[in-house]
């Protein structure tokens, strides 16, 4: 997989996004919500990077910070050679067409008082000097592309079903021919029967237009279906990042393992025999993360060191990165054997 070494379209380095907490009489800053706490990863051109994790672990914040919808506290985000984290307002605006976003809630992400045509043509109005006719033509084109009936161009969002609304959102994101799209849980709010339509559409578009996705989701089965590589987040940090099959077949971080085992499988026979790893307790607050490894409060395999030292992010096998003391120890005990094999397998599969 690494041989082909496709171009890195997005490089995220040590991205941090802290939200201040103000309290007390003078509203002084008393702490920070470390929503995203030092992420580094790359996204290659044409691939789909899945980002999974529990609610509140910072997935959306990551997506937004990458697109500079939030001003990151620290770190750099280089998209197509431009560090968007450092751009000024004017330059940022020029860079916007490159990168777009699809949102979680198709209802909330569409202005209820604008027609479909208005919504889809808004980016065109902002960034091109097309006239009304040209815009309408483009809108029609886009509607065809996402499988919306052209006749619906002057209807309002509330007149559509969830899946159709999400298509509107996708059409809007595609309007300026972006290279990179952040999909922030684009299917979470949809019914199962509609999810598949949207996922298929996203796949088709990627194939046709050569898009690059950051696909945020907590639905591990969809991510497995869609992503090339998968990053698992826990409390503001990536705990594991690996090519898809490697991750699903051989999760290394205890959290990833627990997560995968917790996903119910729609097959009673499998379910009857499957071993679930049940985690105790709840996710700690990102305002007050535990000392050491973030996962140490719930980890079934917790060790003393975990409560003290923050595990490092280490690439044990090519492309499979983990931040876990346990993995480190195993690795040290049996250096690189099994993993080589796995890697080879993956290389073949991809």
């Amino acid at each position: 997989m690494s041989e082909a070494s496709p171009r890195k379209l997005v490089e995220v380095r040590d991205l941090r996004m802290y939200f201040d907490i103000h309290k007390g009489i003078l509203r002084r800053k008393v702490g920070e919500v470390k929503a995203v706490d030092g992420l580094s990863f790359d996204i290659h051109e044409g691939e789909t990077l899945g980002l999974v994790g529990e609610s509140g672990c910072g997935k959306s914040t990551t997506g937004r910070a990458i697109l500079r919808l939030y001003d990151p506290t620290d770190g750099s985000v280089v998209i197509d050679g431009v560090d968007v984290a450092a751009l000024d307002a004017g330059a940022l605006r020029k860079a916007r067409p490159q990168m777009q976003m699809i949102f979680q809630d198709p209802q909330a992400s569409l202005n209820p008082r604008m027609t479909v045509a208005d919504i889809i043509s808004e980016p065109l109005r902002e960034h091109t000097d097309m006239d009304a006719k040209a815009r309408l033509a483009r809108v029609r084109e886009l509607m065809d592309a996402v499988g919306l009936n052209r006749r619906y161009a002057d209807r309002y969002p509330h007149e559509f079903s969830g899946g159709q609304r999400q298509r509107i959102g996708i059409a809007r994101a595609l309007a300026l021919n972006p290279k990179f799209i952040v999909c922030d849980e684009p299917i979470a709010a949809l019914d199962v029967s509609i999810q598949a339509q949207v996922v298929n559409l996203l796949e088709d578009l990627q194939r046709k237009l050569g898009l690059t996705y950051l696909f945020i989701s907590h639905d591990l089965s969809m991510v497995r279906h869609l992503a090339t590589r998968v990053a698992v987040m826990y409390l503001g940090k990536i705990v594991e990042l690996a090519p898809r099959d490697a991750l699903y077949a051989r999760p290394r971080h205890p959290y990833t393992q627990a997560l995968l085992s917790a996903v119910p499988v729609p097959d009673p026979q499998v379910e009857a025999t499957r071993r679930h790893i049940i985690l105790e307790g709840d996710v700690p607050s990102p305002a007050n993360p535990p000392k050491g490894c973030n996962f140490c409060t719930r980890c079934p395999k917790v060790m003393d060191i975990c409560r003290e030292v923050v595990p490092e992010f280490r690439e044990h096998t090519k492309g499979h990165v983990t931040a876990c003391h346990l993995v480190d120890q195993e690795q040290d005990a049996s250096p690189l054997r099994d993993n080589d094999k796995i890697e080879v397998q993956h290389g073949e599969q991809l």
Binding site: A196, Q197, M222, H225, A258, V265
Partner: protein
């Protein structure tokens, strides 16, 4: 098909209508089913198929605009719809537990969790203040909330979503109900928390021998915990079978399509997901045709003119469809 123990709950021909400004919505159309003691029945179906409304119709918990227009609900042989107010209150309070869809809003934000649990105990178990508190703490412990004694004094917003859902379960279990109706209790939760709760329910069910109705649209969850599954579509139960049977031999085209759309974390990965095209049915009139006919790949003339009745296909399995997947031809009934 009802050869087990005498049913705990028996519902026949239930119809519920919403009277709205833009006309009536027939949310539940002739639903019949039963639940045996100690049985866990899973209910699946897409959003808007009438799962919640059906369950709320049972104990008359519908919002003002809704009306149960016909049907019979028997709880241990007693007719719920003809009950006196008082009797109905006792039934709701003592014998049936409800867990609702949204844990974030289902608890009253201005009362402590303790009060919301003890309220029920005191009214329906005749407990004193102290006894009720003790039992409440016990319940919280049971559903796995640490430091239960202290947390009784906390308000709902001080709990996370998963914990709130567990509180809801604690409330539902407070009076050792014979029947627990859980309406998508885990949909809003993360998988790891969902796993915790599923584990808890399996556990409790063994301990308390309750009948449980578990609504979800996650077939994975159903596969994991249910004994029997009902599939709802367009306000009707279109298929009903023991869990293994259903997954092994789905009969209704909707069920089949549903099973095919799902990707999975295990097993082989499909290249392309199957989809169900078309729109969910409109419920503005009582159905005169099969609700799924418009989206059904196998639909034929009869589907458009006659609403299918539920047919027993053996193995305690029944389905409402004119078409037989085994033969690939219409059934001849």
């Amino acid at each position: 098909m009802r050869d087990g123990p005498a049913p705990l709950l028996d519902v026949a021909d239930l119809k519920t209508v919403f009277h709205t400004r833009s006309g009536d919505v027939h949310a539940v159309n002739s639903v019949s089913f039963s639940v045996a003691p100690g049985e866990l029945v899973g209910v699946v179906g897409e959003s808007g198929s009438g799962k919640s409304v059906t369950m709320m119709s049972l104990m008359n918990l519908l919002p003002g605009a809704a009306e149960v227009v016909s049907g019979e609900v028997l709880f241990e042989g007693r007719d719920v719809r003809r009950m006196k107010r008082r009797e109905l209150l006792t039934l709701r309070g003592r014998e049936v537990g409800f867990v609702f869809q949204d844990p974030m809003t289902s608890l009253n934000p201005v009362f402590t969790v303790g009060r919301q649990i003890t309220e029920r105990l005191r009214k329906h178990m005749g407990m004193g203040k102290g006894a009720a508190r003790g039992r409440a703490a016990e319940l919280l412990k049971l559903v796995g909330i640490p430091d239960a004694e202290r947390r009784l004094g906390d308000y709902p917003h001080q709990f996370s979503g998963g914990m709130r859902q567990r509180v809801m379960i604690a409330i539902a279990l407070a009076c050792d109900p014979k029947l627990l109706i859980a309406d998508e209790p885990t949909t809003a939760l993360d998988v790891t928390i969902q796993a915790q709760i599923l584990e808890l329910i399996k556990d409790l069910r063994r301990k308390l021998d309750m009948g449980i109705v578990w609504i979800t649209h996650d077939l994975g969850v159903v596969a994991g915990i249910a004994d029997r599954v009902m599939v709802m579509y367009g306000g009707q139960i279109v298929e009903q079978a023991p869990v293994g049977e259903l997954f092994a031999r789905p009969q209704h085209p909707y069920t089949r399509a549903l099973l095919q759309t799902l990707p999975s974390v295990e097993g082989t990965r499909t290249e392309r997901l199957t989809t169900i095209e078309g729109q969910p049915p409109q419920l503005d009139a009582h159905p005169s045709s099969c609700a799924f006919a418009e989206r059904c790949p196998n639909a034929f003339g009869r589907c458009m003119t006659e609403n299918p009745v539920r047919l027993d296909v053996g193995h305690q399995h029944d389905v409402a469809c004119w078409w037989d997947p085994a033969t690939g031809e219409p059934r001849n009934v």
